[in-house]
């Protein structure tokens, strides 16, 4: 409604200092939430990159006929956890060892017989890069009689699991805490605005404005403040992010910022906070205050009357 927007903007202008204060507060609360979001985002990316290296390797007994191996491989490919299966022959294994393990290059060069067995290397689908899935796949591989031994870096896959759990929990807890704090802060600033305009509200009720009509400007005002605060928070996050990356502290590589969707999410969150905070504050005010509150007895009235 046109009038509601006008009243909201008018309120904004009349209480400029307070408005700036609330926007800054919302911005700061969302900024901290945003920073945490950035940390969580990058941690998740980093963990995903590490998880890509989760591999299950089955060493194949020497002299296994190759048809048997390739038949088994087509079975393995359809394991639900498996993304990709590679056969690494003895020769390839040796070549890789000579390339990667430079310390032993001389040793490998002089070998008469190839000590390395052929193997099958499995990459798992992202959802299955956990200790439990890797172990399950390993167990199934051991069922093939040509398989000698299965390895999947048990220790660190397990550690990765724990890290993931902890990161998720901390993320949830901190995110929740900051959202709560932002909501309280916004509620308080809007409450101050409501009190500052208590007289207007009183008159609106006296002349017969409906509760929704009275709430309207405050809700619009809260939403606008939330939007401005959210925008400011995204800008602050981008600034801090830029500064951090330009430091090139060795961590700079591969760091990523919010995508457009995530930035919008922060804005929407801001708008919802502003809107929700206003709704609660105004609601409480409308419930508590009567039209004539504070002007009850003659003495109160004398105090309330300005000297002319």
């Amino acid at each position: 409604m046109n009038l509601i927007t006008r009243e909201a903007l008018l309120a904004f202008r009349r209480t400029r200092t307070l408005s700036i204060l609330s926007v800054t507060t919302i911005a700061f609360a969302l900024f901290v939430t945003g920073l945490f979001g950035l940390v969580a985002l990058n941690m998740r990316t980093a963990l995903r990159q590490v998880a890509e290296r989760v591999q299950v390797v089955a060493f194949v007994k020497r002299d296994t006929p190759s048809q048997q191996v390739s038949a088994a491989m087509s079975d393995i490919t359809v394991f639900p956890e498996v993304l990709d299966v590679q056969y690494v022959s003895e020769t390839e294994a040796l070549a890789r060892a000579q390339r990667d393990l430079t310390e032993f290059q001389e040793v490998y060069k002089d070998l008469e017989v190839n000590p390395l067995p052929p193997s099958i290397e499995l990459t798992l689908k992202p959802a299955f890069r956990t200790a439990a899935s890797a172990a399950a796949v390993a167990e199934r591989l051991k069922g093939f009689d040509f398989v000698d031994e299965v390895k999947y870096g048990q220790d660190w896959v397990q550690r990765l699991d724990t890290l993931r759990d902890i990161a998720g929990l901390i993320g949830l807890a901190v995110g929740f805490a900051f959202a709560l704090v932002s909501m309280v802060i916004i509620g308080v600033t809007i409450r101050i605005t409501v009190l500052q305009r208590a007289r207007e509200i009183q008159i609106m009720r006296l002349v017969g404005a409906t509760d929704w009509f009275i709430r309207g400007p405050f809700l619009v005002e809260g939403a606008i403040k939330g939007f401005l605060g959210g925008t400011l928070a995204v800008i602050l996050c981008a600034t801090v992010f830029g500064l951090f990356r330009s430091q090139k502290m060795g961590l700079g590589l591969g760091l990523q910022f919010f995508g457009a969707g995530q930035a919008c999410l922060l804005l929407i969150f801001g708008v919802l906070l502003g809107f929700g905070g206003s709704l609660v504050s105004v609601g409480r005010h409308l419930r508590d205050e009567s039209v004539t509150k504070g002007l009850r007895r003659t003495t109160d009235r004398v105090l309330a009357t300005k000297p002319r």
Partner: protein, 224 residues
């Protein structure tokens, strides 16, 4: 227009009831004074009329609304059919006289294109056409009360309630405001005015309800 039947009011925090067993009737086009000592219950009685308080027992009816059973959304509808003015004017200090009056129309959803003419008409009615663009602080007490009355009248209510409207005014301004209320009443609006000003009450010769310690002790219409 207004009917009280065996009305009592007990505030939750009050140790004694503010009003006891009050019954009276105010008909169309009446002008009624409400008198009584400080703390007698005049304000409480008016609050019951504009549904700022609910009766503890008994029945209050104003323009067909049963105050005791009013729902939350019915309160605004009642208030649009009532004008209320107070001793302290209750104007918005950062709006002009005209804006203060227009505010009452805007927030009750009046059609925007009708607002300026309605505001001008009612300011003219209270004798403030020349002061439409003045801020409240630039107006005398009597003029501020006229703005408040204009705001109360702008929705053409059948009833005007006034809680000591002249309490902050000197004698001249008091007479002016009182005359204005009489004119409004003469045009067909019921006026209920609480006051301490016994000289005014005596000189006016209007119907008077006197309250003492929450009881209706005198009704000039009943004794006449």
């Amino acid at each position: 227009m207004i009917r009280f039947t065996k009305v009592s009011k007990q505030y939750p925090t009050g140790n004694d009831a503010a009003l006891h067993d009050i019954s009276f009737h105010i008909g169309r086009a009446d002008f009624v004074f409400l008198t009584g000592h400080s703390g007698a219950g005049k304000t409480t009685l008016l609050k019951l009329m504009y549904a700022d308080e609910r009766p503890t027992s008994g029945d209050v009816r104003v323009s067909g609304f049963a105050i005791g059973r009013l729902t939350r959304d019915e309160v605004p509808r009642l208030r649009r059919r009532l004008g209320v003015v107070f001793q302290d004017f209750r104007l918005l200090e950062d709006r002009t006289a005209a804006e203060n009056v227009a505010f009452a129309l805007e927030v009750t959803g009046a059609r925007p294109d009708t607002i300026p003419s309605r505001v001008a008409r009612v300011l003219d009615q209270v004798g403030l056409a020349m002061k439409a663009e003045s801020m409240p602080r630039e107006l005398s007490g009597g003029e501020q009360q006229r703005v408040a009355i204009a705001r109360a009248l702008v929705n053409d209510p059948p009833v005007l309630l006034a809680d000591e409207p002249t309490g902050n005014l000197d004698e001249r301004a008091t007479r002016g405001v009182f005359q204005l209320l009489c004119d409004i009443n003469a045009a067909g609006t019921v006026v209920v005015m609480a006051t301490h000003d016994l000289d005014l009450v005596r000189a006016a010769g209007k119907r008077t309800l006197e309250i003492r310690d929450g009881r209706l002790v005198f009704d000039s219409a009943a004794s006449a």
